[in-house]
């Protein structure tokens, strides 16, 4: 069974009746890593929001099945607890809430959802420290309020930490590589690679071939004007790097 199956997905903005996703088809099997590339404004983030269940979008056509369930029927928090994780392109600040507290709340929500015991403070601390160490994040960063005053790169690293702790089955990473310096990119990529396994699927949204040098995708898709225009292997990313998106947007590179 496919992990994620998107069929002819159309979605519009609720407020202005503007169609952004114009018939997306995509299948991710367990263990696969897919990359989506495409020009600015083509609808990549929108796709990630619609998958995650953000308010403000209306699905007008099509269906999405995740792990055999109708994903579109579920509330955003239920999708998260079912195992859909979105690493945000622009992670949000939550003043006054320590990262630890936030993440513990998140993990315990998931555990409760699955009828498991909640972790106490000590057990949780141990778990987080271990994961944070791999991402070279210190305690001070975990104690600080969620994303408040974090640099662009720190915010992205924090997203990966959350992902590592929550252990989702579908990881959607929206431009996690943007804003990372070369060393951080390596650390984050290692973090993501460590999470690769035969059950987990990944969808990487990126503008840069460089990330794909570190995280080798099984498939690369080009998205433009709300549709997947072409799919291929990782060589497609190299081709895009060279030629740009001219073939898909009708403009010269």
């Amino acid at each position: 069974m496919a992990l994620l199956e998107i069929k002819n997905l159309h979605a519009s903005l609720e407020e202005e009746d503007k169609e952004i996703l114009k018939g997306i088809d995509l299948v991710i099997q367990p263990g696969e890593v897919h990359a989506i590339m495409g020009p600015n404004g083509s609808g990549k983030s929108t796709l990630s929001y619609v998958l995650a269940g953000r308010d403000g979008y209306e699905v007008t056509e099509g269906e999405v099945t995740f792990d055999g369930k109708d994903l579109l029927e579920l509330e955003a928090n239920e999708r998260a607890n079912e195992g859909v994780f979105l690493a945000f392109q622009y992670p949000v600040e939550i003043p006054g809430v320590p990262g630890m507290t936030f993440l513990r709340e998140a993990l315990n929500s998931k555990r409760k959802y699955h009828g498991e015991e909640e972790l106490d403070a000590m057990q949780f601390l141990k778990l987080v420290r271990e994961k944070a160490k791999a991402l070279e994040m210190g305690d001070d960063m975990l104690k600080r309020a969620v994303n408040v005053g974090f640099s662009g790169g720190e915010k992205k690293r924090n997203e990966i930490l959350q992902m590592a702790v929550l252990e989702p089955t579908l990881c959607v990473l929206d431009e996690t590589d943007s804003g990372l310096d070369i060393d951080a990119l390596k650390i984050v990529a290692d973090g993501v690679n460590a999470l690769r396994n035969e059950n987990r699927g990944m969808l990487l949204i990126t503008h840069y071939q460089r990330l794909l040098d570190y995280i080798q995708p099984d498939f690369v898709h080009v998205m433009a004007a709300g549709k997947i225009q072409r799919s291929g292997g990782k060589e497609l990313a190299l081709e895009l790097e060279e030629k740009g998106y001219a073939d898909f947007t009708g403009k010269a590179a």
Partner: protein, 485 residues
């Protein structure tokens, strides 16, 4: 539908059936005749077997009260209170004040149990808290007396203090809030029924948190409690009060007076978690909470710190204040005020700088949801002699939905050019981005609002004694329950 829109609608729909303290205890009460008169005051005083000087003081206040008018300057609207329709005294029928908990009516103990008050001594948070519980008009049990007595600490009801420590009461009662102070305080002086008395002798650090729980149970009763705390030179005490009331259709009046006196190098930390019944979604039946709280930093280098978490009441009118008389004395005010539905709160503080190098800090966090109104009203006054006085004020408002209001009204009067006064104010909304971020991490929207609001209030919450911070955090979540869908 966008989350923010849903939020607003949900808040509007939010009924108040969630108020879990809304039960009534079936206990026979003994009441004074309804209404306010000299006879009623004499009745109260006689019931309490008070000495003559106490009765005289009450009557003096009553005479003055008759010349006063109800104030209307606060930004709150409510049906005027009919003072003739209130019982000023209601006591659970017990022959004498119980000597031990075994003599307390089990029904009463069950009530406190339901309220989550650990009255039984062995359960009292492993000995860190001593509790005085005030039920309607009388104080029913004071725990841990013996242990406190070993330190010379007096912790009892004010009625007992009047009888057993008249010299202290005479000296300090009305010394911070005079009988003629304001409408509701003067009313309190005339008819106050019970409350707590605390005396910490010189150099003693009170070995445990002291705490009072107030409960209005009987119908149509006003609760007029009176609290007096005296900290002698070099002493320290941390005091916490919690309040609840049953759910009723008619508004009930709560007009308390709290006086604090800190001598040289003494410190009083006074925390309140107020969860009076807020009324239904139109405000009907909720408590009118009109309270005068004031502390005097009499001695040099003394310190008074007010921390309040206000989630209940239909109407709140409350300005815990500090009179900074001693040189280098310090006043602090940390406040979280949450209003939902039709709740109205006009709250803030007054910091009066009299001594040299006096310092005050004000951190106020106002949260409004539904159609509620939340006003911060603060006065910082620096008198000519207050050389080098400093104040820092920070007022932050958080709005949930767009039908609620937040207002900040700072008054600053400085009559000493060396004073430094800083004021910062912000207003923000819970953003849809924040809510989505939290739900994407698996949090229900209620948990999301709760965690965001608690984050917003963090600077205040960290001032609460540890044992109560968790409770207050939960309370914040409960009082905003249903504020998103």
């Amino acid at each position: 539908m966008a989350a923010t829109v849903e939020t607003i609608e949900q808040v509007e729909q939010l009924g108040t059936e969630k108020y879990k303290y809304g039960f009534v205890t079936d206990i026979e009460s003994e009441m004074a005749p309804k209404g306010l008169s000299e006879e009623v005051i004499r009745f109260i005083s006689a019931k309490k077997e008070e000495p003559e000087w106490m009765l005289e003081w009450r009557l003096k206040a009553y005479e003055h009260f008759k010349t006063m008018e109800e104030p209307d300057w606060a930004k709150v609207e409510y049906t005027p209170i009919d003072l003739s329709d209130i019982y000023y005294y209601a006591a659970p029928k017990i022959k004498d004040r119980p000597n031990s908990l075994d003599e307390v009516d089990p029904e009463l103990l069950r009530t406190y149990e339901k309220l989550g008050i650990p009255l039984k001594e062995q359960e009292v948070l492993a000995g860190v808290v001593a509790v005085d519980a005030v039920f309607d008009s009388v104080s029913v049990a004071t725990t841990y007396r013996k242990k406190l007595a070993e330190y010379g600490v007096i912790f009892c009801s004010i009625s007992e203090a009047i009888k057993e420590h008249p010299e202290l009461v005479k000296k300090y009662l009305g010394s911070v809030v005079p009988y003629s102070d304001n409408y509701f305080a003067t009313l309190n002086c005339a008819v106050f029924t019970d409350g707590s008395f605390v005396y910490i002798p010189k150099g003693v650090r009170c070995p445990m948190e002291l705490s009072t729980y107030f409960r209005i149970n009987a119908e149509n009763t006003g609760q007029f409690e009176r609290t007096l705390i005296i900290a002698e030179e070099g002493s320290y005490v941390s005091y916490l009060e919690g309040c609840t009331a049953p759910q009723r259709d008619e508004n009930q009046l709560h007009a308390a007076v709290v006086e604090l006196v800190a001598m040289k190098e003494a410190e009083i930390k006074y925390s309140t978690v107020q969860n009076w019944y807020p009324g239904d979604d139109t405000g009907a039946g909720g408590i009118y909470n009109f309270v005068t709280k004031r502390g005097a930093c009499r001695g040099d280098s003394s310190k008074i710190s007010w921390t309040q978490v206000e989630t209940g009441s239909a109407v709140t009118w409350k300005y815990p204040s500090c009179i900074l008389q001693g040189d280098n004395s310090v006043g602090e005010f940390y406040s979280v005020a949450i209003t939902n539905n039709a709740q109205q709160a006009d709250t803030g503080t007054k910091m009066i700088h009299i001594g040299k190098n006096t310092k005050s800090t004000i951190i106020s966090k106002g949260i409004s949801a539904g159609k509620a109104d939340n006003t911060y009203r603060g006065l910082v006054k620096v008198l000519p002699g207050a050389e080098g006085a400093r104040n820092y004020t920070q007022c932050d408002s958080l709005l949930i939905g767009d039908q609620c209001g937040a207002h900040t009204v700072p008054y600053i009067e400085s009559r000493n050019p060396s004073a430094r006064i800083e004021h910062e104010a912000t207003t923000s909304k819970i953003s849809e981005d924040q809510l989505f971020y939290c739900s994407q991490r698996g949090l229900s929207e209620e948990d999301a609002v709760s965690i965001i609001v608690n984050g917003f209030c963090k600077e205040v919450m960290k001032e609460l004694p540890m044992e109560f911070a968790v409770e207050a955090q939960k309370l914040i979540g409960i009082s905003l329950e249903g504020s998103v869908g």
